[in-house]
Subunit: 253 residues, 2 copies
DNA sequence: GGTGCGGGCTCCCGTTACGTGAGGGTCAAC
DNA sequence: GTTGACCCTCACGTAACGGGAGCCCGCACC
């Protein structure tokens, strides 16, 4: 079975013009043509297209993609490994940017202004000597997310019940503290925040104080999170956030 | 203190020509010039450049960046929030691709070959006949996100109280239905889901059934959302998700 | 077996975001 | 006061398509 340009285009979410272009430059020449001159793409062509789009997505110029794909010394697995590596690199970069944005947000709310060096740090992580590691560790993004995905994938139903119960207890404790007027800047609230942090670390991913702070901010800044927490009691999201910050500050002192 | 093109270029890891170009199109015009005609960039210019590069990195066309940055109604924090959101979306996409690559690797070592649909799933989760729009709105996100941003920016404190109260009522109704054993596949659950959808549409952004379904999936797939909902009752996230799907199916029939 | 029309074909010019000199001025140091 | 590094303004080149114009294919339908 083979496919027409239109079908392939719809399939791969590219335009017909793009496929024409790839044919023109010899990047993807359909294996067959009808006697009328119509392009007919085979499964193998689709396979190649998928790889093309993958490398394109990661910013490779088409010419380079041609070279990569026409290299006779590469089996599919090599491609997959390369793709895997590229994706992780890319995600690390984004994680770095994310961390920088969070830093900037903190800096902004605190009224601190950044130096020009700090501003552009986002885009390349130069100055190898200092904290190249820090961004990695902070939201370590890829690592963090992956870790969470890996771990949670292995959980049984019983695990989930336990997790949910634990989480429920923590939130209820927060709610109780809040309704009793316990200050978010105090010991008790901070203790609960620490419990919350450990809960996440135990079940999802290593949650350092920085990440935890980011999470607290998220509860307040993202309307959906806010709404969720505030369904328990109006102001809960902000309360939890402050407790988290209190706890983080305490540990840093 | 001010900087020359060369300094800025080295600093931001772009070419001098790029800076010239940005000047030409009015995207970044240096605040000063020497009598000899040399460009001189101030701190504020660097700040703007940083934002430019950020949005560029995420694939925004320069013209759109101009509009975004020249919008008088945006404070720095809004930018940061938007950036944060965009990054997370982007990372999610990459995470999806990473997972797909891993799946492909497993499939390869097992000697299984994937169907064409599975191959292209990586790039947005389409199936040609249905929701071509959905991928745009779901992953492209800009339009939806922008809408949400615009609206929420104008809300007063009273609005927020109202929003939270409404959200709380919906979730509590869900919790009640759930604890009473009302099936997620039934009318009542679907009605609640519809209410939920309308709530989002009214206060945040036009939430069609497709987007709504995506949201429901998110509640189950993202551990943080799951944990939040499940603090109310274990299984709540999955229950809400199914109710949403029921509702969406009902509307499509 | 004509015929309508959705899709496909080949030029070919337009666009975005710069690259890459050509030819000539500027500036701080020696 | 000159030299070498840096900067200026044209101006054409390029990559990766977008978007027609004008013409063909093919298959369903009468």
């Amino acid at each position: 079975m083979s496919y027409s340009v239109g079908q392939v285009a719809a399939f791969a979410a590219v335009t017909v013009r793009t496929l024409h272009h790839y044919d023109e430059i010899g990047l993807l020449t359909p294996s067959e043509r009808t006697r009328g001159g119509y392009r007919r793409y085979t499964e193998a062509d689709l396979d190649r297209l998928q790889r093309i789009l993958f490398y394109r997505e990661l910013g490779f110029p088409l010419e380079e993609i041609t070279v990569i794909l026409d290299d006779p010394a590469v089996d599919p697995l090599t491609h997959l490994r390369r793709q895997h590596r590229l994706l992780r690199t890319r995600m690390d970069r984004l994680a770095g940017m994310l961390a920088a944005v969070e830093t900037a947000m903190e800096a902004h709310t605190m009224g601190i202004s950044l130096t020009p060096e700090e501003r552009f740090e986002v885009f390349g992580g130069f100055r190898p000597e200092d904290h190249e590691q820090e961004a990695e560790e902070r939201w370590g993004g890829t690592a963090t997310f992956e870790q969470s995905r890996r771990r949670t994938a292995a959980y049984t139903k019983a695990d989930w019940v336990k997790i949910k119960q634990e989480a429920g207890e923590i939130v209820h404790a927060f709610a109780a503290a809040y309704s009793e007027g316990t200050p978010a800047s105090g010991e008790r609230a901070a203790d609960l925040a620490e419990e919350h942090r450990l809960h996440i670390s135990r079940w999802f991913y290593d949650c350092g104080h920085d990440i935890h702070r980011g999470l607290g901010d998220l509860y307040v800044n993202d309307p959906r999170f806010t709404a969720n927490y505030d369904t328990i009691a109006p102001g809960m999201a902000a309360y939890i956030r402050e407790a988290i910050h209190t706890n983080a500050a305490r540990r840093q002192a």
